[in-house]
Structure formats: C-alpha cells, structure tokens
C-alpha cells in the first residue's frame, strides 16, 4: 500500500471511530438532548485519542532506539515506571497531588524517565533477550512498588488499581485531560523530527556514527520523548499493553520501515486502536463496560502472536 493511501484510510477509520465513540455509552446510542451526551463523552474520546497516539508513536520510537521490534514501553516497564511515579506521589503527598494540574504528569514523567534510563543501562546493546529481561525486571519491580503503595494507602487504592488495569479513561474530564494531551502532542511532534536519525540508528551505533549521526544525542532525545509520551498516556488511561507493540508492526506492514512514515502512521493507528477498544468495551457491554486495556489485551494478544509468526519486518 502506498503511504498516502494508508494515511487517508487511517484518517477515515479514525474519523468514523470518533463519531461512533461519541455516539455510544451507558445511556445507549445517540447524542442526547441538544448534544448533552456529546459534551459528556468528548473528554473521554479526546483522552483515548491522545493516549493511543502516544502509545503508538512511543512504541515505534522505542523500537527504533533499541533496534528491536519487540520493544514496547508496556513490556519494558516504562508505563510501569510512570504509574509507579504517580503511586509514589499519591502515597507520599496525597494532598499535594491534586493541587496543581502538572503534579501527576510530572510524577509520571519522572517515573517513566527513571525506568527508561535504567532500561538503557541494563538492557542496552543489540541483544533482544537482554532488553526484554531488563524490561521484565523493571516491569515487575515497578508493579510491585505500585502494589505496595496501593495496599498501604486506603484513599488511592482503587485509583491505582484501576490505573494498573488501564481503566482511567472513564474519569476523563477536560481539567485532567488538557495537559497530558498537550504533552502528547509535544512529544509526538519532536519525535517526528528524529525520523531520519532513527533510520540511521537501525544500522547499529558504529555505522550510524560513520554516517554522521550523533548517536548519543539521538538516543537521549528519543528516550526522553518516549518517556514523556508514556507518562502522558499513563495519566490519561493507566497501563495499556500491546498498542505500542501492534501499532508499529501494522504501520511497517502497510508502509515499510522508514521512520518518517512509521512514526506518524503508528500514532494514527495507536489512536484508532485505543479508541476502538474503548468504544467496543463500552458499546458491547453498556451495563458492565470493559476497560480499554482489557479489550486491547483480549484482541491484541492473539493478533500479536499471529503477526509474530509471520515474517513481516
């Protein structure tokens, strides 16, 4: 498929999903009197779009940095780190956390950045197993930390558990959503500028240096921006696996591996996947809606296994 066709198809799909998502909810199908339900649902739709976009482009960027199609901020513990950062803030300063709009995003970013830095130190190099083992360890550690804090703090317990299950979209309001959305757009825009450098990095660090790429600088920027995207996504939806893995895979299948195409198409597909999953979870079982993360996992896991079996890189 040509890149233009893929992007046009992606945009049409996304627009259709937005209309559908705005029309579906626990009150049934429709926009309510004078569009009242539309206003109620739009923050959630906005949050799902931004979080999906961040997950998609973050996954593509992390795969580019680690030269590894199995890298995904969900598997490598970066989302876990973001949630752990939020848990630490809620556990240590429960009052301060909600006083300023930036407190929770800042905590998430600090957690995501710390995990990313550890991942680079522990899992760097070309070895897939080393990267995934380091990610597995970091994921387990941050999950354990979040669990400990959640079980000790009565007030935040439900909130953190919901975050770990990727079930935060339901509480999206414009007040909570605007800053992570802006951070997502910032991270995504800056990540797009790294496209050619990520292409160069795919030839290995030595070769990339020979081609005139500032390897250290590119890696630092990409890791920082991926952490920012992961933090923003975590603030909006909580932890969601598979989208960071699936969106870049699908994008590469559609338009080939050039990062100038893969990064934006992953963002588009990530937004469509998360919004689609959330809408499906709300629409099919309106009385007991499933979280976006649950739907993503139920549909994403088999799809990923099927994709991993074929040669498609």
């Amino acid at each position: 498929m040509t890149a233009t066709k893929a992007f046009v198809a992606g945009f049409i799909l996304l627009a259709g999903l937005v209309v559908l998502a705005l029309s579906v909810g626990t009150q049934g199908f429709g926009w309510g009197d004078g569009g009242s339900l539309l206003l109620l649902r739009s923050p959630r739709v906005l949050a799902a779009l931004a979080a999906g976009l961040a997950l998609g482009i973050g996954g593509a960027a992390q795969q580019g940095v680690f030269r590894n199609p199995l890298a995904d901020p969900g598997l490598t513990g970066v989302f876990g780190g973001a949630l752990f950062g939020i848990a630490l803030l809620l556990g240590l300063f429960p009052e301060a956390a909600w006083q300023r709009a930036w407190c929770i995003p800042a905590a998430a970013f600090t957690g995501a950045l710390a995990t990313s830095a550890l991942l680079v130190v522990l899992g760097g190099g070309a070895s897939t197993s080393r990267l995934l083992l380091a990610g597995l360890g970091l994921n387990a550690f941050t999950a354990a930390g979040t669990l400990v804090i959640a079980s000790r703090s009565g007030e935040s317990r439900e909130l953190l558990t919901n975050g770990a299950y990727g079930d935060w979209l339901g509480m999206a309001t414009l007040e909570l959503t605007w800053l992570p959305v802006l951070l997502t757009l910032l991270a995504a825009t800056l990540l797009l500028t790294l496209a050619r450098s990520l292409d160069l990095l795919s030839f290995g660090e030595d070769a990339a240096r020979g081609f005139g790429c500032d390897v250290g600088g590119v890696r630092r920027k990409a890791v920082l921006l991926t952490a920012l995207a992961a933090a923003a996504a975590t603030c909006l939806v909580g932890q969601v696996a598979f989208i960071g893995l699936l969106a870049p895979h699908l994008a590469r299948r559609l338009v080939g591996p050039r990062h100038a195409k893969v990064l934006p198409l992953s963002a588009l597909l990530g937004a469509a996947l998360l919004l689609g999953a959330d809408t499906l979870g709300r629409g099919v079982w309106p009385q007991a809606p499933l979280s976006a993360a649950a739907v993503t996992a139920v549909l994403g896991a088999p799809l990923f296994i099927w994709m991993a079996r074929g040669r498609h890189e």
Binding site: R67, L200, S202, G210, F211, G256
Partner: protein, 222 residues
C-alpha cells in the same frame, strides 16, 4: 611527500582485560591503500575500530581528517528497500552512483532480506562511500570489504577503493586476500595483536613471513 592522514604510534587496546592490540604503529598517507592482514583473531578488526575511534586505545593516535568506518558484518534492524538507503544517509545520488559502480544498480527496489549477504555488504559500502562525496583527504577504514563477494564484485570493490585513493583518500583495509594485499601500497601483518611485519608488499609478504604467521600449508594458497 603527501599528507599524513592517520598516524598511530604504539597503539594498544584492551578488551575485557585482554590485550588485543599491543604496540602497533601505522602511518597512512593521502593516496595510499594500506592492507591489514593476519590470521583470524590477530586483531585486524580491533585495530580498525581503534583507528576509527570506536574503541578506547592507549598510545598515540593522530587523525587529521574525517574517518569512515565500514564494519565486517553490517546489519540493519529493519527491512528497508535498497533505494531507501541513499535517502537515509542523505546522499541519494551519491549512493546511486556508488551502487552502480559496485554493479548493483538493478537492486534498487529489492528489500535488504531479498538480496544476498555479499550484496548487503556492497550496499553498506555504497552508503559509507556516499556520505563523503569528495573522498579527497578522507580516511576509509574498511573491514574485509570484499569478503563473501563474487569475483566481479570483488574487482568492483577493489576498483572503488583505488578510485578513492586516487582522489586523495587514504584507505586502510582489513583483508584475508593476500593477492589484493600484494597490490596495495603498504601491508601491515598482525599476529596476536602485535606487528609481525610492515612495509611494502614485496618486503612484508615474503615466503618466510607467510610460513611463520600462517604456517607452512598456507604457502600453497598464498
């Protein structure tokens, strides 16, 4: 005398506590092709990487111009089209020219997994050469650039190296191909990380040196 592009004096490299390169000196002038030969494990790759500044080394190393290093086994994480590679290094026309010179012009639309290992190597070499469109005054460090290539492509790679040198570059080539080494301006013979012989091919690749470094049976091959 032409310009000295790289000079190493008593170069040493330690990898995981083992001294892999020990007291190697080398000088390459503009216009020269220098062959680095030696048995497997002699330290050819490490020497090239040290000259390229990719591993820490002791001793003196002075490099006056840009260095381009081309690895022995280039790899790529993603399955690009060959024609993408020129865009990726930002020199599409230079890349296409080198690709044509190496006899691979027809590969453009194929993906990296659809071409042979030797062709992948040539494509990487074309990328490395394209980055520095004017070879004059530059230093090329190529690790076995012609290994696993058929005779036609070997000849094309060797010609490309000579073209670069003629345009004023200095080329340091790690190789197992002694007949190519004999046609170079200088030969560095490495053995267990040390300099076993260095100088003009006629003076270095003698029967005695070959027998001492590679063993008697190698004489029939060399």
């Amino acid at each position: 005398m032409s310009d000295i592009l790289i000079q190493a004096l008593g170069l040493g490299v330690e990898l995981s506590g083992r001294r892999v390169i020990d007291g190697v000196s080398l000088t390459a002038f503009s216009g020269q092709v220098v062959a680095v030969v030696g048995p497997n494990g002699a330290g050819k790759t490490t020497l090239l990487r040290a000259l390229a500044g990719l591993v820490a080394s002791s001793g003196e190393l002075s490099v006056t111009k840009e260095r381009t290093y081309c690895a022995q086994k280039p790899s790529c994480a993603w399955n690009y089209r060959v024609s993408d590679l020129g865009d990726i290094v930002g020199e599409p026309s230079g890349f296409a020219n080198w690709l044509a010179k190496l006899g691979l012009a027809e590969l453009g639309e194929r993906r990296l997994t659809e071409i042979s290992g030797g062709e992948q190597k040539c494509a990487h070499l074309a990328m490395a050469l394209a980055v520095l469109p004017e070879p004059f005054g530059n230093l090329f460090l190529l690790d076995e650039p012609a290994a696993s290539l058929d005779l036609t492509k070997q000849a094309a790679v060797h010609q490309a190296i000579r073209d670069c040198a003629q345009a004023g570059a200095a080329c340091v080539i790690a190789t197992h191909d002694l007949s190519f080494a004999r046609r170079c301006d200088q030969v560095i013979v490495l053995s267990e990380g040390r300099l076993a012989a260095a100088g003009q091919p006629g003076a270095t690749l003698t029967r005695e040196v070959i027998a001492a470094i590679w063993g008697e049976p190698a004489l029939t091959e060399a």
